[in-house]
């Protein structure tokens, strides 16, 4: 068993909903992430999947302390990131980086590509002048960008190239964990493969650990070693990739997998039409009592409304939160 790089313990993130102009008061909370726990092992790629609004991106950002958690702990190298502040946190952040979904919004349009990739060195005072330039050139060739492009601005690059700039920036400080928040969903199909291959190569080359947040279940299966499924702020299932895809335990995972189309008309024709989920995801402001999935679950029983199911180990390394399995 390899060692844990990061441990998330009972992480909670609520966003307050405020009303009123002068006398602001909290009228409720969006339960974006509601008590999730998991580990990320060194060198693995953990996939975090779920539909939009399930809290997967919030979870990623809260782990990096881009949002401060409402409660819970994030242990990295023996320290709780949630309790760190200021300089101490900044030091730790060098080891934790992020690749964002939107390669258009996550790069400052007024900075050149070289300045964007070189900025981490300046911020952390790790290099100066020509040394920065040398590092930037190295990073550019590492991610497959032509080093002569360092003086170009983001708008002069295509979507795939911009995502490479974002990847180069995240690699600048030699991080050990990179949170990839839907890094390919804004890209065209033929470009997605380029970026995924690059991420895989970099992982092999640099021994990186990824938290890969995505909604594309086929791509997650391709790139991840373990997968966690989120629904409405909670983890409903977590396990090794093959176990989770071949023998999914939670009814939500079942439903998700049966909804993924396969690029093969013959298989699509033969596929027996599983009962798809009906209805929509309930509001995270007032999530259902007990099991959050019970309003759409084909197996729902009385107990599901009364008791929140715990995430239990149903098979070695394969955990699910359901009363019925």
């Amino acid at each position: 068993m390899s060692e844990n790089l990061l441990q998330v313990k009972n992480l909670v993130k609520y966003f307050p909903i405020r009303r009123g102009v002068l006398l602001k008061r909290d009228v409720g909370y969006v339960h974006a992430v509601d008590d999730i726990s998991f580990n990320i092992m060194k060198g693995e790629t953990l996939g975090l999947v779920g539909e939009s609004g399930c809290g997967k991106s919030t979870a990623g950002r809260t782990i990096l302390q881009l949002y401060r958690p409402t409660s819970g702990r994030v242990l990295f190298e023996g320290e709780d990131l949630a309790s760190l502040k200021g300089q101490a946190l900044r030091q730790k952040r060098r080891k934790l980086q992020m690749i964002f979904q939107d390669p258009y919004a996550s790069l400052n349009p007024r900075m050149t590509a070289g300045d964007i990739v070189g900025e981490p060195f300046i911020v952390h005072r790790l290099a100066q002048g020509t040394q920065v330039q040398k590092e930037v050139m190295r990073l550019f060739s590492l991610v497959g960008l032509n080093p002569t492009f360092i003086n170009r601005f983001p708008h002069e690059f295509s979507g795939g190239q911009r995502q490479r700039i974002g990847i180069a920036r995240s690699l600048a400080l030699n991080p050990s964990l990179i949170v990839c928040d839907e890094p390919i969903s804004a890209l065209d199909v033929s470009i997605q493969a380029q970026v995924v291959n690059l991420l895989e190569d970099l992982q092999a080359q640099l021994g990186l650990t990824y938290l890969f947040i995505a909604h594309d279940l086929s791509m997650v299966r391709h790139i991840c070693t373990r997968v966690a499924v989120m629904y409405l702020g909670v983890i409903v299932e977590i396990g090794g990739r093959d176990a989770l895809y071949q023998t999914p335990l939670h009814p939500y995972t079942h439903a998700l997998l049966s909804a993924v189309p396969i690029p093969d008309p013959v298989k699509e024709e033969q596929r027996q039409q599983n009962i798809p989920l009906t209805g929509d995801v309930p509001s995270p402001i007032r999530p259902p009592s007990g099991c959050r999935f019970r309003t759409r679950c084909p197996l729902a029983a009385e107990i599901c409304a009364e008791q929140r199911p715990e995430l239990l180990e149903k098979a070695p390394g394969h955990w699910a939160a359901c009363h019925m399995v």
Binding site: D188, V189, A193, V196, R221, H222, P263, D264, P265, P276
Partner: protein, 328 residues
Amino acid sequence: MDDILNVQNLETRFKVKGGWNHAVNGVSFRVSEGETLGIVGESGCGKSVSVMSITRLIPIPPGQITAGTAMFGGRDLLKLSDQELSKVRGAEIGMVYQEPMTAFNPVLSIGRQLTEPLEVHQGLTRQQANARAEELLSLVGIPNPKERMRDYPHQFSGGMRQRAMIAMALVCSPKLLIADEPTTALDVTIQAQIVRLVKELRQQLGMSIIWITHDLSLIAGLAHRIVVMYAGYVIEEAPIKKLYANPSHPYTMGLLNSLPRLDESEHRRLESIDGLPPILHKKPSGCPFAPRCRFVVERCHREVPALLTVEEDHRAACWVNPHTRRER
């Protein structure tokens, strides 16, 4: 079977700073009665512009349709006056768009937006139109249609808005439904619901569908025939099973091999297509895919390949047979 729509040699371009952007370059396709045609390609390949040109929903200017015919029910849509065309749009051709939030008018209730075309196109009274709209909303699976008709678009969830938009497109029982990436903004489970709904509806109503998408996985279970576009050209056309079993253009092969698949047992490296799709400021002198192609021969740079027959109903625009690597 008879063609319901037959588009020949369509050319559309857009005026840009210092010249023209050639978005559609001699595109031909047809849709027969009851058939679902998938038009597949990446962003900027001209798939939406082709279809929007037929219904003249592109902005003119800067857009300009420079050539082509689009025969629909014995008339050439490209030659109709604006007035005649607006009788076809919404009545005989229904449309569903990608972003259900922007396609609705936010200040009119869902019900009003459904009844308006019925009053305009079919001359129904308000009561008749209301009854029909209610019927349609329940057809597309919206619970409590009577109450929900009074709601405004923002009160609907994404999946419900897309259902409502399908209802709006079907309101006058069109012969042809054009769906432009209708599920791209939706989650997989909602996407599966919409696809199932469309399949049921096409069986019930017997309409033809043009489904525009970049998603080769989604369209596999939905279309009867596929047209693949690249840089404003049709580069391959085939019945669905032939296309997936025997892709005959290097671009189609590349697209299919770049997809991770849920049914795969071995981890394989995804095949990526190097380079970027071109932006056509001038019409290319050779195959537009040549700079990215692994099978390129000298002729590819000289001549734009014609759509050559691979086998019956299956045509590809490539001078080389990628399976034998010989020139066709």
